[in-house]
Symmetry: C3
Subunit: 423 residues, 3 copies
């Protein structure tokens, strides 16, 4: 009985219950190469798989089903062979799906139903060279929930760096103390420099105007989770991004991640001078995604699946009385009711400026189920747990490490939480 | 064989080994109602218990002896149905006794003989918007001793609140990260506002001139523990409060708690302008308690069971050379020897001003067993452990969770500790 | 069959597999007394051991082999009967060897192969009254790796001390909250004052120009470990100390510890005005050790086994253009190649000033295996774990408490780490 190379490879993927991405990593070839092997034989790009690979699959891979999922994801997103998370550019569509599967497996823990001690003995260096209380606590709490311990530092600089110490020395010394580091730093590129000086995993916790990958991942994970509840798919959906699109690193990174999906309709609306950079728009205009710049807030909101709002900082404006820092650009309940659908979701990276008259998401949305900003913030925990588990190579062990919590919390975190969203 | 309703209910309390308070919570009635059921049948206030309640007791409560103590105390002290600890007003006499029983069960842990992992997996957000190193460490260490993890923040404000974020947003977001929060804030009422924005338990760690309930609870627990050693009872005892009785929130809260006892003789002595507010005096003048304002320090000290001294801050006086900031108002060994009994105990919420000439407790008392200030500070650990265990619903599980420590400490914490007070 | 007292005692030491130091502690006699019992019978200083001691050895010590190593080291280095680590003066040669054996037993943990929960339930108070991010993290991470929890404080002063509280009160209160404290303070002697006010173990984390014993211990442990790899012995080796020898407390403490060894050739080279104090030179000129002051950097480096460099702070010089803050005093690869051996090791307490032209270790040594500065920093973890385990009396239990880690790290911490130095 003859089976084609295509049939053979798809049967392997099915029998091992893995993605194409994992199979490529396991075979040590690029996803692109694997894709060419998976084409019909009469396709122009079709390539024949080497016999050594075929033998490796039959003699080893299929016999080692238990270990197949071990350490794959961190290998697949590695940076120069190192297990860092520096940028959303490390992900492609398949590894993103794998990442979200791991995140899903953290949900029983982040919902306080189960605990895990899988990272027992591990120490996180939570290095914040710039204040960001909540991001720091979010990373710290996520690590604790996996059984690890956290050493925090805050403040613009290490005492040692003030004495002329290089980032190289600081990074190498800290790597000798802890098992993984989150680094937040006001200067773009400094976290990458940190990561080059150590093999210990580094998570970029935000480097000035650069990247903040965990935020983009939790944003996309939120869209995925909300869409799953609503029976929608990210492919083909419509998203509007509103606010400071020039300096807001979260919208840049999210747009890059969204470009891995297909057929999206993305709208942008920002005050003049705060437009999305062309480089990002060009980066994201692939896979049949369409990016459109809107000329009014109402036009931007019209009929979208996702509203992603960001804060506009008054300091950005030359003239602080500028009309764009004005209530008419505030996204409030009446604008949402007039322009959006019943199943639109409204997101924001937080903090939002809740003062009256601020050009930001209005607090009159707090009781509307469409406001997903707190569900989005909550997702920071499972997403950051997934990052830690993956980089430390225990993502495949989490499920078997769970046991019941003994303490108990109320059913809902917030007094205004939606009925469908309980602990 | 006929038994009266009173006999029946008392036998239930005895068989289940619970307090009246717990029984009331279990039956879903107020303590007041239960009390009327417990009266002799010929009493004017006597009420007949509904048959449904009687059946519930016989068919369910008495058959479910193992679960009877579950989650009761946190229900009994709840604030608007939420498990917060915001004020001493949440306690009545019975729930206070229940609280102290839980605290007693923490003693093997706080004495470093046993460890518990009952809060494993739980994360405390220790949010100090105002510096208070020791209170922060005391809450943090208490949580760690139950097996939990702690995320600390210090500083006047969150970085996010500086950007216009509301307390509502901050509280709700933090509630998504952690399982319980201690909040200290310089503004009265801000902790209550924090608590309204989340269902996750909040412990008031001090809100400016407002409340600091854990301090009042550890103060009263200290009196109870010391009296137990001395064979005394709080009902009918005499207490003098000395120092800044106007701004000192600890004396206000302690006086409120003391008012739950009976027949107390309470004396007050303060420099002019720092007197106890009338509202508190009126609040506490119940249950046959007598409150008396003294005109000299010596008169105040005379024959009391408890001296509760507080620090007088020089800044409170218009004229800093005022005689009241003077050694003659310092409570020292000779004044104690002249006026107090052999079994008087001397308390202070700390810090005390130990500089020569300060109007505060003198350091020449350090070797006197009556000085209970360090035993009092030590009690902060079991009291705060009890608060956490109760609010997270594991207070009934602590006893069965204990196991031996492997490390060992000296028999006494301090070089001047009393022989009766060893680890 | 007759055996001499000397033969008897040596057989006891061998059978119990302990050092002379431990035996002395177990017998309750000084090491000096034990040494006199161990002399040949015809020696002038020979003393006959009391019969009660001999009976104690035969009837109890030899029958209690399992417990023999319990709690001995902390008794042997105790300060006034308390288990503090305040100064390197607490060690003699034997207890130093015992200390390093305990440190060796921590290596599987610090290399992230094993985890231990031996300090579960214990809380460290990490009290830094002076900023030192890395020392704080190093102590904190070491404590976490033994299963304990950490409460950090940073900043010049406690909020309570600003209100006039004495060190006595602060220390006693903190001792009631935590199980062991690391104290760093800018004023010499303040840590000792802290230690007199509590029986809870205190580790001196650096008291201004005073002591920093954990640094000296990790320095010496590094020499011992590197020499073990190179097949060298500390006795008889040659060490040069370079840089600020006047204010550098690490070189003072290291020189004191080295003086416990024999036949060392120690060279000193420093800019004028920053010479090693005579008191330290006199202290260390014992046991046949020879201390020599060199007049040039090259002369100092010539043929030594260990180069110990320290940072020279520009602020120390009256004239900041002084030639001694000059590249010609920088220790770089060419000077090391010209003057040192293939197996010389180069050390530095860090931070090093990595800016071009700084009078410090040059960064062009980063790829040279002789540069041991990061291996030295890494040793801070097992050394500080040993300190905690010893002071809390669990050093003998560590080996049996180990179990495998579940997470995994890369084989090397740093990208430039030597092949012989892997996790």
């Amino acid at each position: 009985m003859f089976i084609s190379q295509q049939e053979f490879l798809f049967s392997v993927i099915k029998r091992l219950d893995i993605t194409k991405n994992i199979l490529a990593v396991k075979l040590g070839v690029s996803l692109c190469t694997l894709n060419s092997w998976l084409l019909p034989e009469d396709s122009a790009e079709f390539l024949i798989m080497p016999t050594t690979i075929k033998r490796f699959i039959s003699k080893q891979l299929l016999c080692d089903k238990d270990n197949i999922r071990k350490y794959y994801l961190r290998d697949s997103i590695a940076v120069n062979g190192k297990n860092h998370l520096l940028s959303v550019d490390q992900f492609h569509r398949d590894s993103l799906e794998d990442f979200f599967r791991v995140t899903d497996s953290m949900k029983p823990i982040s919902r306080r139903q189960k605990i895990s001690r899988i990272l027992e003995g591990a120490v996180l260096g939570n290095l914040f060279f710039e204040a960001s209380t909540r991001t720091r606590v979010s990373f710290g709490a996520a690590f604790c929930r996996l059984g690890g311990s956290v050493c925090d530092t805050t403040g613009f600089t290490f005492s040692s760096m003030a004495k002329g110490e290089s980032i190289y020395d600081t990074s190498r010394v800290m790597g000798g103390y802890v098992d993984i580091m989150v680094v937040r730093h006001p200067e773009q590129g400094s976290v990458a420099e940190f990561s080059r000086s150590t093999n210990i995993p580094i998570v970029n916790g935000g480097d000035g105007p650069g990247e903040h990958p965990s935020q983009a991942l939790l944003d996309l994970y939120t869209i995925r989770t909300e869409f799953s509840r609503l029976g929608k798919s990210i492919d083909g959906s419509s998203v509007v991004m509103i606010g400071d699109l020039k300096y807001g690193r979260t919208v840049h990174s999210l747009l890059k991640l969204l470009s891995l999906y297909k057929g999206l309709k993305i709208s942008l609306f920002s005050p003049p001078g705060l437009e999305m950079p062309d480089s990002i728009i060009n980066y994201a205009s692939v896979n049949g995604n369409h990016i459109d710049i809107k000329s009014s807030l109402e036009e931007g909101l019209d009929g979208v699946d996702v509203v992603y709002a960001t804060r506009v900082q008054k300091e950005r404006f030359e003239n602080p009385n500028d009309e764009y820092f004005d209530k008419k650009f505030q996204i409030d309940l009446s604008k949402i009711n007039s322009n959006c659908k019943k199943d639109t979701i409204i997101m924001h990276p937080l903090p939002r400026d809740g003062r009256p008259g601020a050009n930001d998401l209005s607090t009159d949305l707090n009781n509307d189920n469409r406001l997903a900003i707190f569900r989005q913030a909550d997702n920071g925990i499972p997403v950051r747990m997934a990052i830690f588990a993956i980089l430390l190579g225990v993502d495949h062990l989490v499920n078997n490490s769970l046991h019941d919590v003994q303490w108990s919390l109320p059913a809902y975190i917030g007094p205004d939480d939606s009925p469908f969203y309980c602990l």
